[in-house]
Symmetry: C2
Subunit: 202 residues, 2 copies
């Protein structure tokens, strides 16, 4: 059935997934919808009942698809992000490290020219309005994806919290590996304090 | 009113926030609930109607609080994560770069010994069961927070997508800055392929 991906995706109706994408990510980004199909494919391959960790190979869009449609998030440490700009993700069993990698397959995408042009940044943004892209992603669904059984050999370690120090300058706790003072008090901060008329006592 | 933070937080009832935390983060992590109060405080200071970007200073828990209770996510690029292990976050106007930094104030936390011991990792995990910690966080609420008006001087740039190359080995697109081949095909991959009896054609 060609449009089966329009029915149940990641355990809920596609329309609900699209609403969740908009609520979380801000809009129905084509990359997010593609990511939804990728997560669905990887979850199918893993089968039910596996506690899977995740790795994504780009920081654009895809991390949000994993965070919405799996239990893995940045903050709980089950999702790791590699800034490689590859549209691929892996789910894997955290005990055996066996898993599946799913990626956007450019060869398959050639059959969907709008999608191909968008992904390869071959057309100016104005030529591909959001609505057109979204239609193209929904029409293609999982047909532009490939997957492979993998064993994860790196980045699978849970990163434990290290020791913390108290910074003698700001009085805040910080990662002890940074030295005696926190990075901000060492001059690497990202802000300056300002006087604000609405400044309230802390 | 002492327990006003028990009522409306980040625009919805506290009970609903706790449910959302569990659904997204996997459990009602004390750091997430603390993060909820931190986001609430920062949003209050910013006032309504400001399109705020976010910076968090730890990758533990806090990124998830920002992702749940503001429009900023990792995947949409409005949230940046500094791996400093400081329990602090900033929201700032992306145009003026004026904003507010909110942090867990250890001096104030001394009045809440359970919270202080947990945060400073002074007690073994078993001595502080989740329920005890959660009660302590809810009892303290915003009373352990401080905030300051800031202007953001770094990390505010939206990171634009760079050029992409096609990898001659794997055929996938990747960030052109990596060279002629993608990092995985250069030998920095995180997986090996495995034969799997359930391997399906892509």
């Amino acid at each position: 059935m060609k449009n089966q991906h329009l029915e149940i995706t990641c355990g809920r109706p596609l329309a609900q997934c699209l609403e969740e994408i908009e609520a979380f990510h801000g809009f129905k980004a084509p990359g997010m919808v593609l990511g939804l199909f990728m997560v669905h494919r990887a979850r199918e391959q893993m089968g039910p009942g596996v506690e899977a960790d995740a790795i994504v190979e780009t920081r654009h869009c895809l991390p949000d698809a994993v965070q919405l449609f799996t239990p893995c998030t940045v903050g709980n440490g089950w999702l790791k992000i590699l800034d490689w700009d590859k549209y691929a993700l892996s789910l894997y069993d955290r005990h055996t490290r066996d898993g599946w990698r799913v990626w956007f397959d450019l060869e398959k995408a050639r059959a969907f020219p709008v999608l191909y042009q968008w992904f390869m940044r071959l057309a100016p943004k104005k030529a591909l309005p959001l609505e057109t892209l979204l239609e193209a992603v929904l029409a293609a669904g999982a047909e532009v994806l490939s997957e492979r059984a993998i064993q994860v050999t790196d980045f699978y370690q849970r990163q434990k919290k290290g020791g913390i120090n108290l910074c003698p300058d700001c009085g805040e706790a910080f990662a002890a590996v940074q030295g005696e003072r926190c990075l901000a008090c060492q001059g690497s901060g990202y802000y300056r304090c300002r006087r604000d008329s609405s400044l309230r006592s802390g």
